[in-house]
């Protein structure tokens, strides 16, 4: 028997509290007219405590389940980061290829004395280099 509860055990405990709450409520409904105001007040207090405890236990079970999966979550995050780096590298390769095309375009414009072609080719290169 482990010393601490796991997420599943916490859920079962919360479910038991809710079942207890429902059983007390059923009793209250059946005996409503026979119960005094003081007794009803005490029942309501007990039900409130049970309800709040169960609500908190359900929420606590999330923390325990999360802790169990923390290693795998880190692994997925690292995989996403790794893909992001690969994506950046691929985009850089694409930029280099675009740059080669633009430089070749400038060379062609120079050879054919196309001044407009040279200017627009330089603009293209500057634009590629300006976008990191």
């Amino acid at each position: 028997m482990s010393e601490t509860l796991n997420a599943q055990q916490l859920i079962r405990l919360a479910q038991s509290l809710t079942r207890m709450q429902s059983a007390i409520t059923d009793y209250e409904i059946r005996q409503y007219d026979a119960l005094s105001a003081s007794q009803k007040g005490k029942i309501e207090l007990a039900l409130t405590e049970l309800a709040r405890a169960a609500g908190i236990l359900y929420a606590y079970s999330v923390q325990l389940a999360f802790e169990d999966a923390e290693g795998q979550l880190k692994q997925l995050k690292s995989a996403a980061d790794d893909m992001s780096r690969f994506l950046k590298t691929t985009k850089k390769i694409q930029r280099v290829l675009d740059l080669v095309s633009s430089v070749a375009g400038i060379a062609a414009a120079v050879i054919s004395y196309d001044l407009n072609g040279v200017v627009s080719g330089i603009d293209e290169v500057v634009q590629i280099l300006a976008n990191p």
């Binding site: 309501e44 609500g55 999360f66 070749a104 060379a107």
Partner: protein, 295 residues
């Protein structure tokens, strides 16, 4: 002839398309975003169904003045802040964000537009240079066209093949971790959150239905109380239905990812693509259903 052979060789290296991965990852990301929007929060459920808040319904009900001796006290009582609920919400959000980031990166990396270099400009410029610098090379239009095709293939295909391999490795290596994380997400929604919703029903019975039913003396009054309870339950059923759809969505994402992880390795790619196509349709249908439920 040599050109054709080279193009053929390069094509064979990268015969598998990343299109299925791209479409599946896109559907999964949008599904996860919708899942995040559709599911109720722990804090919200706790606040909405806390005994203090539910008791306020008695103050405003038809019996409020006559039957409720503590009228006003419930309204004055403040709803305690549930810190574990806030933590549960932020942890659930971390899980959703991690999964979304993973599928978003899969989607971006498998996008066919990412590696689509067109050598037309480069070859045209080189052809112009060649005419001025080395006219003896005599590059005809046919030769230029062949060079364009070859250069496109040489520059794009190895990168595409490497990308496919990288994607396949990433999917295979992380399949088991994804299974655990989706299993945790499923536990949170299907067990913990469902528990909170069932607790909400029990709370309504304890703090609203029981006193109202006790105060109701005639069958007509009791029927009215039952009808109000029925209306309350309809709202909770809608939340449970949303959770059911979210679980189906997570199961489909898990199944699709596993198919991609194992199908690619087993060389049964055509069958895997067909499975993935069916999963994408299922995810999109579930997302549409979730949107309808939220509206």
């Amino acid at each position: 002839m040599k050109t054709r052979l080279l193009i053929l060789l390069v094509s064979v290296v990268s015969c598998k398309s990343t299109d299925s991965i791209n479409r599946f990852a896109k559907s999964s990301s949008s599904g996860l975003a919708e899942l995040d929007r559709s599911t109720p929060s722990f804090s919200g459920l706790y606040k909405k169904n806390d005994p203090s808040r539910l008791k306020k319904i008695l103050d405003t009900g038809i019996y409020g003045n006559a039957m409720n001796p503590e009228k006003g006290s419930a309204a004055a009582a403040s709803i305690p802040v549930c810190m574990p609920c806030k933590t549960a919400d932020s942890l659930t959000s971390v899980i959703n964000q991690t999964l979304t980031a993973y599928f978003t990166m899969l989607q971006e990396l498998s996008d066919k537009k990412l590696i689509a270099y067109h050598a037309e400009d480069l070859v045209s410029s080189l052809a112009l240079i060649q005419a001025g610098v080395a006219p003896s090379m005599n590059l005809t239009d046919t030769k230029i066209s062949a060079i364009k095709s070859l250069l496109n293939a040489v520059l794009n295909e190895p990168l595409k093949a490497y990308r496919y391999q990288k994607l396949q490795e990433t999917i295979s290596r992380n399949d088991s971790a994804l299974g655990v994380v989706i299993g945790t997400y499923r536990f949170i929604l299907d067990t913990a959150l469902r528990g909170e919703i069932e607790l909400a029903r029990a709370n309504y019975v304890s703090f609203v239905y029981a006193p109202l039913y006790g105060w109701a003396k005639t069958p007509v009054e009791k029927q009215l109380v039952n009808r109000e309870f029925g209306e309350y339950q309809t709202g909770l059923s809608a939340d449970l239905e949303k959770i059911h759809q979210c679980i189906q969505l997570l199961n489909t994402i898990r199944k699709g990812h596993h198919s991609l992880a194992t199908g690619g390795a087993k060389n049964t790619w055509n069958a895997t693509e067909a499975e993935i196509a069916a999963d994408i349709i299922r995810i999109n249908t579930l997302v549409t259903e979730l949107v309808r439920l939220v509206q």
